[in-house]
């Protein structure tokens, strides 16, 4: 399956909005990341030209911050906590189960662009361990049943129906 086509017009609009700002690069990138879901590599030159920065520099900023992605991600980005507290409470098994259920490796996106699995060092919600984040929502005190529920909620079964 193809990812959604890139809306180049909206990228151009975002660039226009920020191009005369001082220190406009990061706000600009954040807005593209937010609206497109990632920063298409082909847009880097366009961004660089508008801000009069070297393209290599823009790329450097994008690849430095984990908040920016250069590949399309799934509709649901699962961030599994790999912090100490979660580890003690079985965080690794949570990750393994999700990998197995979705048949997907860590850091990868499913071919239908539904799911992306990522890990984070700590979500800062140790009292809920083991935890994960799906898009912007926290899920804590995970159990196999709860995980299946979350995956279903975010459309794991859509493809099967």
């Amino acid at each position: 399956m193809e990812p959604e086509p890139i809306n180049w017009n909206s990228i151009s609009d975002i660039i226009k909005k920020h191009q005369d700002e001082k220190w406009g690069l990061i706000p600009l990138l954040q807005e593209i990341q937010e609206s497109i879901g990632y920063i298409p590599p082909d847009s880097i030159e366009q961004i660089a030209q508008a801000l009069k920065l070297p393209a290599s520099h823009v790329q450097g900023v994008i690849t430095f911050y984990s908040g920016f992605a250069t590949e399309p991600k799934g509709k649901c980005v699962l961030k599994v906590c790999r912090g100490t507290a979660c580890h003690v409470k079985g965080g690794k098994s949570v990750l393994n189960m999700i990998k197995k259920e979705l048949n997907l490796e860590e850091g990868k996106t499913s071919s239908d662009y539904q799911f992306t699995i990522e890990t984070v060092a700590c979500l800062g919600a140790c009292f809920l361990a083991p935890t994960l984040m799906a898009n912007r929502d926290y899920y804590g005190r995970l159990s196999p049943k709860k995980i299946t529920g979350i995956l279903n909620q975010y459309g794991k079964l859509k493809g099967d129906e």
């Binding site: 009069k52 070297p54 393209a55 290599s56 520099h57 790329q59 690849t63 430095f64």
Partner: protein
């Protein structure tokens, strides 16, 4: 502000506020090891090797980024500091591949040096090499990023010094590496292969590419680059008698600092080319009465040359001889050359090949400004208020000048570019005005500039003081401007009038540095354009002040010097007009001869003279006329008619094949001399290696000739020639006293010296109305590429440049390509009224319609076939820079 007083290792130190601990320590002879520090780059604090300890707080800090504070007590080599440094080096080594034995960096590796100083042999850690693909497809730079220690010198040099921005850090943590955009190979990025990063890399991660074993340099010697007009200081690495590496020298105050360009860095391998001339050759008939060039001794060769030239001189008179000097040879050589021609042979036919490509413009500005613009230090550009660049693609012609302009732009100088081409500078500029290309109907760059002057004049934001004190003719100029209508002119040039207003607004009240392409005079609007710029310069008082004036990025290393030494028909040494009786008298008295009263031939006159049979003999030093002049077939045929041709050159070229005597010469790295660069900086140099075979320095060959001609004065040493220059040429009164010196101005009578002379505003001459030419609708700009210099005689002999395989594609705008129905990847024919060439082409979306760009120097510089030879004489005719063409499908 108060000075900072503090202690390093209990030694009292005083420094200026803001000085870093490292700089203060270095100034006081205290050594602190570094890896990421370089004096020309902003401090970065990446490697942490320069850690020092603050005695009071016990803190460890990187001395390169910590400013010295009052009463600090710094310790540079406590046990703790050393321990930390050792650990940092150990970690670097654990990530470094164990390939020191085969690494070309050898003992010049700074990581190895620091490790040795700290006594780290084995790191004793788990080896975690970070293998990256080895990149070595391009013929200039090999990249082995597994050896990268992330000091960031390459990246900082790329951004801060060269202002290209081809590479930057990519990713982070363990995966972090310098990378191009999309991690492509260097040749697919905007890298210009200037090699600055290679010279700065502390390890073997970046290295020059070699095709066969070259060996590491055994010694390094200083020299001055022999390519373009920048005159960069080089440090040449030599193995045996072979030049194996070229780097920028560490000399303070050099024009190039830590930078070089692709030619200076990588193309000097032409010196080792098998095409070098190594033995004197004389054309003789052999036993079967076939003509051939026979190897002879210097004595026989010079005897023959002297005898034949004397014979022709007696038979046909001195004006049947022509002496063609070279803007690539040194000041001393050009001086001696023109002296021999004028004083020994009595001819006035002294010229050189660079008149059309810059000397004409220099000489025009010289006359109009009374010599007040002879000196234009590039380093002053950094403080320039405004830089206006007109038709100057310095990034390609004189890259180091381009770096200066781009750095000025980054440090806040306002850059206005007037050019129909979107050059690298245009991208960076505050404002880019893109007029209609020259030779197109209605195009007038000159009038655009005049309109800017008009706006400034109207808003009374000109320099009244300067105008009252030093100039004449403003009223007349103002009257001329009244006739110009800004709206019409901007419409005719397809730009908005507001753009001109904006430009005028941003330059008003400021001093301007003008950067002018040396070929600007070669179109019908040329002289008007230069006049317009000179007027704008006077109006704003941009003459005689630091960071203002005229900068001409000339393409040859000693183009200025050849003019100053009088290797031109117009001038005697010291830019003294030959037409003035006083000047001629001066040299007649000093040289004890009568100078010829006829005006000497210019280059076209020489070719015409050869065609008509007037020229019987030519002595050509360091010029490859068949490659560099327009209409090469005509030039070749003309030269065939000359009875006796002496070619004194370093490379066997097409011209040498026609020679009756070949005298092998030494290149810049093999001789002593001095060059004068585009700034007016005179730099001396000494030999780095000896010349190949029996080749001799040009001045030595010339002194042999003088001797054989029975000239009483002997020029056995370079110092002898310099003495004479110092005595007779006030501009060069300090020649040879210092390694670096500047042209002197004290002989010129100019408005600043308080006598009656004043700068005069030029009138606005009526515009030349160009007629449309349906047969040749395109304007071709003959551009140079940074990979080649001028016509490419030397650079084409560089193995690296040859392997880079630049096909010199013609660039065409997208809509022109559509209009003509050209298929990409096919070859096209470009035709002018004088000839045609066949080339690949590519679409350049930045080009305006009607303009195409044809790079010079490739394919034996065949582009010269398109240009009319007649037009190298007249400044205001399409010549070296532009011509009209049509494009045909093949």
């Amino acid at each position: 502000m108060e000075n900072i007083l503090f202690n390093i290792n209990d030694q009292k130190i005083i420094c200026n506020p803001g000085t870093t601990i490292l700089t203060a320590a270095t100034q006081n002879g205290i050594h602190i090891p570094t890896l990421c520090f370089h004096p020309d780059l902003k401090p970065y604090g990446a490697c942490r090797i320069c850690l020092v300890e603050d005695k009071k707080s016990g803190r460890l800090m990187a001395s390169c980024v910590t400013p010295a504070m009052q009463e600090m007590e710094i310790l540079t080599d406590t046990h703790r500091v050393l321990n930390h440094r050792r650990n940092i080096v150990r970690l670097m080594m654990a990530e470094h591949p164990e390939s020191c034995i085969v690494c070309g960096k050898g003992n010049r590796c700074e990581l190895r040096k620091v490790a040795a100083q700290l006594g780290v042999g084995e790191h004793g850690l788990y080896q975690m090499p970070n293998y990256k693909p080895y990149e070595q497809i391009n013929p200039f730079i090999t990249r082995d990023l597994s050896k990268c220690i992330l000091c960031g010198k390459c990246i900082r040099a790329d951004h801060e010094l060269v202002a290209v921005g081809a590479i930057d850090y990519n990713n982070r943590g363990f995966r972090s590496r310098p990378a191009t955009i999309h991690e492509t190979a260097l040749e697919n990025s905007n890298c210009t292969f200037c090699g600055t990063c290679v010279s700065l890399c502390p390890t073997g991660a970046l290295a020059p590419k070699y095709f066969h074993h070259a060996g590491t340099p055994e010694r390094e010697a200083a020299s001055i680059c022999g390519f373009c007009g920048a005159g960069c200081s080089l440090s040449i690495g030599v193995s045996g008698q072979k030049i194996v590496e070229v780097n920028p020298s560490a000399e303070q105050g050099a024009v190039n600092g830590a930078t070089l360009c692709v030619r200076g860095h990588f193309a000097n391998d032409y010196i080792n080319s098998p095409g070098r001339l190594t033995h004197p050759l004389i054309r003789q008939k052999d036993a079967n009465s076939n003509e051939a060039l026979i190897n002879v001794s210097w004595d026989v060769a010079m005897e023959t040359v002297a005898a034949r030239l004397t014979e022709i001189n007696i038979k046909h008179g001195p004006q049947s001889l022509a002496f063609i000097g070279s803007s690539k040879c040194s000041n001393e050589e050009n001086y001696l050359f023109q002296k021999i021609a004028r004083a020994v042979f009595g001819t006035s036919n002294v010229l050189n090949g660079s008149y059309a490509s810059g000397q004409m413009l220099l000489s025009y500005i010289e006359k109009k400004t009374y010599g007040t613009c002879r000196i234009a230090p590039l380093s002053d550009l950094k403080g320039a208020e405004v830089i206006i660049a007109v038709n100057a693609d310095a990034d390609h012609t004189v890259p180091v000048a381009g770096y200066h302009i781009k750095r000025a732009a980054k440090s806040g100088s306002l850059i206005v570019v007037i050019d129909s081409l979107r050059t690298d500078l245009a991208i960076l500029a505050k404002q880019w005005i893109s007029p209609l290309p020259p030779l197109q109907m209605e195009a007038s760059c000159a009038d655009l500039i005049n309109v800017i002057s008009k706006i400034i004049l109207r808003s009374e934001s000109y320099d009244k003081n300067f105008i009252d004190s030093y100039t004449d003719g403003l009223e007349r100029f103002a009257e001329c401007l009244k006739a110009l209508d800004g709206n019409t002119i901007s419409q005719e040039n397809r730009i908005q009038y507001q753009e001109l207003e904006k430009a005028a607004d941003s330059i008003k009240g400021k001093k301007i540095a003008f950067v002018i392409g040396p070929d600007i005079m070669h179109n019908p609007e040329g002289i008007r354009t230069v006049d317009a710029l000179l007027n704008l310069g006077l109006l704003t008082g941009s003459i005689g002040k630091k960071g203002s004036g005229f900068y001409i990025p000339v393409s040859e290393n000693n183009l200025v010097g050849a003019l100053d030494m009088g290797a031109v028909p117009e001038y005697l040494p010291g830019r003294r007009l030959i037409s003035s009786d006083d000047n001629r008298k001066f040299f007649e008295n000093n040289w004890q001869v009568k100078l010829a009263s006829e005006t000497g031939l210019d280059m076209l006159g020489f070719i015409e003279g050869a065609e008509s049979g007037q020229i019987k003999a030519a002595y050509i030093m360091g010029e490859n006329l068949i490659r560099s002049l327009p209409q090469p077939k005509r030039v070749e045929a003309a030269l065939k008619k000359i009875e006796f041709i002496v070619v004194q050159d370093i490379l066997n070229n097409r011209l040498a094949k026609q020679a009756d005597a070949i005298l092998p010469a030494a290149c810049f790295a093999e001789k002593s001399g001095s060059f004068t660069n585009m700034e007016g900086r005179i730099q001396t140099f000494t030999p780095v290696v000896s010349p190949p075979g029996e080749a001799k320095a040009d001045w030595q060959i010339l002194s042999l000739l003088a001797k054989k001609m029975g000239y009483p004065e002997q020029y056995g040493t370079i110092e002898k020639i310099r003495q004479e220059i110092r005595r007779l040429v006030p501009m060069y009164e300090g020649l040879g006293n210092h390694h670096q010196d500047w042209i002197k101005n004290n002989d010129s009578h100019n408005p600043f010296t308080g006598n009656e002379c004043r700068f005069v505003f030029s009138c606005v001459e009526p515009k030349v109305n160009l007629l449309p030419d349906a047969d040749y609708p395109f304007t071709a700009r003959i551009g140079s590429l940074r990979f080649h210099l001028g016509c490419g005689t030397r650079t084409a002999r560089s193995e690296r440049i040859r392997l880079y395989d630049n096909k010199g594609e013609v660039e065409i705008s997208g809509s022109d390509c559509l209009k003509l129905g050209l298929d990409e990847g096919k070859i096209i024919r470009v035709k002018s009224a004088y000839g045609s060439i066949e080339r690949n082409f590519r679409i350049n979306l930045d080009l305006p319609d009607g303009l195409i760009v044809i790079p010079m120097a490739v394919n034996s510089n065949d582009v010269m076939n398109l240009i009319n030879l007649e037009q190298i004489r007249q400044a205001d005719q399409p010549g070296a820079g532009f011509c009209r063409v049509r494009i045909e499908k093949m």
